[in-house]
């Protein structure tokens, strides 16, 4: 192999490398280009260090995020929700495709204390980031609509979001119907029940299913509490005083046994206020107030 031949071969090959790289860069488009500008920002700075293992790091951040909720959501230990938002933000910056992080993150942020951070507006922010990244992902609209419905009680907004989401590919058939119901009936219990039933149907993981079931049970408990309130009122009407315990009511023949909620925990009768409520140690504690 003579010198000139070798040199030519090297030049040609380098030319090929250059050409192919340019072609690749062109096809990846503007997204790549903006990513490449140096910035001083924690999520992106970290990306520089990670050499392509960003999404793995996102997993690890998610793990830490999850630690703040333990295995069962009702184990109330000292949870520091201040860190939740930054952790979530880093997770989704590292791996913008980590869809679950947006969905569940938003929910955790929105849930009232002690199950979540109680910051539904922040939850909306996170979901909006998800939507910006994945504008065709119908589930984000479901998550967002749900936050408006359940935590923010903005029923007009709920309907609007559900309607938008229903147009996306893959959206379940009931989103339009739910939008309609919410618009006309607001946040009444039946609509809520309907929503949870649909969520139960379209759940993708067992945790999502269980979550929906729990909420359905809560709604059932609310129904039962309404009935129990009427029972207490009837007792009062009959005997002229308020009952001090369930035994009295049972003894008077209004109920057959001490009432239990759908999880089998006894309801509580408050002797002073005469109000009925769910047991404090029931898995359903923390009922929505409708």
């Amino acid at each position: 192999m003579g010198m000139t031949l070798r040199f030519t071969a090297l030049v040609l090959l380098f030319g090929a490398v250059y050409a192919i790289q340019s072609r690749i860069d062109k096809s990846v488009g503007p997204y790549r280009a903006t990513e490449e500008i140096l910035y001083v920002d924690s999520g992106n700075a970290m990306k520089r260090v990670l050499l392509g293992f960003d999404n793995l790091a996102a997993d690890l951040y998610w793990l830490r995020t999850v630690q703040y909720f333990g295995g069962k959501r009702l184990q109330v230990t000292n949870k520091n929700y201040d860190l939740l938002e930054p952790l979530l933000n880093i997770t989704i910056e590292l791996d913008p495709d980590f869809k679950i992080a947006y969905s569940y993150g938003a929910t955790f942020l929105s849930e009232p204390f002690p199950m979540g951070a109680g910051l539904p507006s922040k939850g909306i922010e996170i979901i909006d980031k998800g939507i910006a990244r994945h504008p065709d992902y119908w589930r984000f609209y479901l998550d967002k609509g749900f936050i408006y419905f359940w935590f923010l009680r903005d029923y007009e907004k709920t309907a609007e979001v559900f309607l938008e989401g229903s147009k996306l590919p893959g959206a379940p058939y009931w989103m339009v119907a739910t939008a309609g119901r919410t618009l006309t009936r607001g946040g009444d219990r039946e609509t809520a029940r309907h929503l949870w039933q649909m969520l139960h149907e379209s759940a993708e993981t067992s945790q999502q299913r269980d979550n929906a079931t729990t909420h359905l049970k809560q709604l059932d408990a609310l129904d039962e509490l309404d009935v129990l309130s009427q029972v207490v009122a009837a007792f009062h009407a009959r005997s002229g005083r308020y009952p001090s315990s369930w035994q009295e009511i049972v003894g008077a023949g209004f109920l057959k046994t001490i009432p239990l909620d759908p999880t089998g925990t006894a309801y509580v009768l408050n002797a002073e206020t005469h109000a009925v409520d769910i047991g404090h140690d029931s898995p359903l504690a923390g009922l929505p107030t409708k």
Binding site: R6, A16, I24, D25, S27, D59, V66, D97
Partner: protein
Amino acid sequence: MSRVGYIAFNTFKETVRDKVLYNLVLFALLMIGSSYVLGRISVYQEVKIIKDLGLAAISVFGMVIAIFIGISLVSKEIEKRTLYSLLPKPISREQFIFGKYLGLCLTLLVNVAVMSTGFYLLLFMMGEPFESGLFKAIGFIYVKLMVLVGVAILFSTFTSPTLAGLFTGFIYVAGYYSSVLKNFDSIVESDFVPRVTAAAYYLLPNFKNFDVKAQAVAGAPLPLSQIAWATAYGLAYVALVLVASVWIFRGRNLK
């Protein structure tokens, strides 16, 4: 040409029997296995973590193996003088370089296959269906390793084993950052500097071209054109590096 094949096969035999290699692969398998444990405590994300960790293990250990065996290539042969009895045989120096390269690619292939099998086995045990996306990601990892081994050979032709290993590691890192060099004109106010850095950008192997792990795990589709262009890049770069290696090696006086 079959001589290249013989050299390749014997290189494969030689490297595949190295105990250190076994340990590395074992480590990788352990890491993949442990991802299962991590997955269990993750809540909602077992499978994603396993996929991410598994691909990461294959990528990192593949890189370590590639550098390790890459430097045991020309550098070690020269230091240990095994070349003294090999080169006087009826082979050319080109055949030596190409044969060595192919042999190393073969070793890498076996190692990656073993790690991938462990990975897929774990996924299978978890009830995950076979995903072609993951397979493509592993394929890309392999192409990336082929480029890395080529770089290791290049350095081996003119430096000691330790330096060759260090330089190759450095190039691995630089290859991920290289895109930073491309857009210097938006940061620096000069005419000359961006040209130099742009040249460096094209000269360095751009490993980002092969980085599809996130896409694969998220289940996003990998278009054929992307696969084709990235592979073409890999092959062109390998050819470039090998020709340069042959050039340097041809002129080299063995100590």
